[in-house]
């Protein structure tokens, strides 16, 4: 049993037992293990790829969502703008209309005031006329109560009449 010279026995048994070990392991261990490992690796790869595509899809979805949101916002903004414009227009119109109305009313009021005034003036004139006539009647009655006075008046009146 030298240390550095190989003996027949170990070589013989090693060849046999290592050969058997190699056969057993290759057939019953390495084959299923490698198969399982490969399968698992492919499934992991697939899962990773699927996750990647899902992520991409998600991103796309997010992107389109954002786009949609953006559009909606824009639309809302434009709508608001329009609405504001409309509101302003309405207010403006209303103001103008109100002004016109007010002016009309004022005009009417002025007219009716004028009218009333005229009526009042007319009535006042009428009353003043009749009152003047009454006063004149009374004064005449008073003045022309004596014959002297009547004669004098006639005289003066005749004197006033110009005979041109």
């Amino acid at each position: 049993m030298e240390l550095v010279s190989p003996g027949i026995g170990p070589i013989f048994w090693m060849t046999i037992s290592f050969g058997i070990l190699l056969w057993i392991l290759a057939k019953y261990a390495w084959k299923p293990i490698m198969k399982a490992l490969n399968e698992r690796e492919t499934s992991i790869d697939e899962a990773l790829n699927a996750a990647k595509t899902a992520k991409q899809e998600m991103e796309q979805l997010k992107f389109s969502n954002e786009e949609l949101l953006k559009e909606a916002k824009e639309e809302r903004d434009s709508l608001l703008k329009d609405a504001r414009k409309i509101k302003e227009n309405i207010i403006e119109e209303a103001k103008i209309k109100a002004k016109e109305e007010a002016e009309k009313i004022v005009e009417l009021a002025k007219e009716s005031i004028q009218f009333e005034k005229m009526a009042a003036i007319t009535e006042l004139k009428n009353q003043l006329g009749s009152l003047s006539i009454e006063i004149a009647e009374k004064i005449l009655k008073e003045e022309l109560s004596g014959t002297e006075k009547q004669k004098e008046l006639i005289k003066r009146l005749i004197g006033e009449v110009n005979f041109n």
């Binding site: 550095v4 170990p10 070990l21 084959k31 293990i33 490992l37």
Partner: protein, 388 residues
């Protein structure tokens, strides 16, 4: 690596010298001696049974026909060996002889004319002795001038350890394969999750990178098997108790077979391109090839040195590790034979160094398995490389 190899050769040479020196002074009882001489010898033997580090280390490192567990000395100062007997299988002169190694009485006895040679160039091997009966009824063995050596196919310590490791490895990996089947597509668990990184490491970092392409799949079972066989046995060799502690991957016969497997696979799978590289190396001036085939000779030598170096590297690294650890342990006994107190003192240092070496050996166990596998894969890759 070179330094290490050099160191182990120096150690081997040194140990061999000290071992044979010790053996020469411990010649035992099978020569012609009178009874008194024998007794004297035995007494001397026990007196001289001082600790012999070289012998002890070598006995631990080399193969044996029995699995030695321990030796103790009883109150009558007699040594007893406790060991597991192993079957001896010999093929001698056309017949197969089998018996238990316990019949050889730890190398002191003879059975059916076979004994373990204790000296000379066949030391440690089982040889056939020539028996002769003499009249007094006492059996004396006389060795012939040429002791014939039978073909020894015994189940030795290393062979038994090999069988144990084959069974354990098969069991481990088949159970792992079953757990892959059982837990299909799920994360690994237990032993499976311990071994999976190693399997993937060999597949991705050794096989794929060295062989490349789709070709690696063909060699992967072999690469995985040698890696785990070497790694497992390296680790098992570091366990100091039965059934560990066997220097299996430090047995040159074992590493020889492993290297031959790699060699055979390389040769049988080599493509045209590989042979062209050897016999008609492209890019080399013609005068290196034609009148004197210098390059082809160098290349052909290279074909054989590659597996040879694989064999030597694994053997030397593992054996050296065992020898260094045993050396540190031996220091305790060497010093305690001077004075017990000194022995206790040194034991602290020795154990510390042994632990350090043990940790280093754990690393070496992996590295050597890795290197052997990687180089095998590289050779396969070279043999199957396509022309480009």
């Amino acid at each position: 690596m070179i330094l290490r190899t050099l160191l182990i050769y120096l150690l081997i040479v040194f140990l061999n010298i000290s071992y044979s020196y010790a053996e020469a002074s411990m010649l035992s009882d099978d020569t012609k001696e009178t009874r008194e001489e024998k007794i004297h010898d035995i007494l001397e033997h026990t007196e001289e049974a001082e600790f012999n580090a070289g012998k002890m280390i070598l006995e631990h490192v080399i193969d044996a026909h029995e699995w030695h567990i321990l030796t103790y000395t009883d109150s009558e100062r007699e040594k007893h060996h406790v060991s597991i007997p192993l079957p001896v299988i010999l093929y001698h002169e056309g017949e197969i002889v089998t018996f238990w190694s316990s019949k050889l009485e730890h190398g002191h006895g003879t059975h059916k004319g076979f004994k373990i040679e204790t000296e000379g160039e066949n030391k440690g091997m089982i040889i056939k002795t020539l028996e002769r009966e003499i009249l007094e009824g006492e059996r004396i063995l006389v060795e012939g001038d040429e002791a014939s050596i039978p073909i020894d196919l015994s189940i030795t310590k290393n062979v038994l350890a090999m069988f144990i490791s084959v069974i354990l490895l098969s069991w481990i990996f088949i159970s792992v394969a079953n757990s892959y089947k059982r837990r299909k597509g799920k994360a690994p668990k237990g032993l499976q999750s311990f071994l999976e990184p190693l399997i993937i490491f060999i597949r991705d970092d050794i096989a794929k990178t060295s062989i490349g392409g789709k070709k690696y799949e063909k060699y992967l079972p072999y690469l995985l098997t040698i890696f785990f066989f070497i790694f497992f046995n390296n680790l098992f060799g570091l366990v100091p108790f039965f059934p560990g502690g066997v220097n299996l991957t430090g047995n040159i016969g074992v590493t020889l077979v492993l290297a031959l497997f790699t060699f055979a696979i390389t040769i049988f799978n080599a493509n045209k391109n590989y042979w062209k590289h050897i016999f008609n190396t492209p890019g080399v001036p013609w005068w290196l090839k034609f009148p004197v085939p210098l390059m082809p000779v160098v290349e052909v030598m290279g074909v054989f040195t590659k597996p040879f170096v694989l064999m030597i590297r694994l053997f030397a690294n593992i054996t050296a590790g065992h020898i260094v650890i045993l050396g540190f342990i031996s220091l305790i006994f060497i010093f305690s034979s001077i004075s017990p107190a000194l022995g206790y003192g040194v034991s602290v240092v020795s154990v510390a160094f042994s632990v350090f070496m043990g940790l280093l050996e754990l690393l070496v166990a992996f590295i050597q398995a890795y290197v052997f596998t990687l180089l095998s894969a590289l050779y396969f890759g070279m043999a199957t490389e396509e022309h480009h």
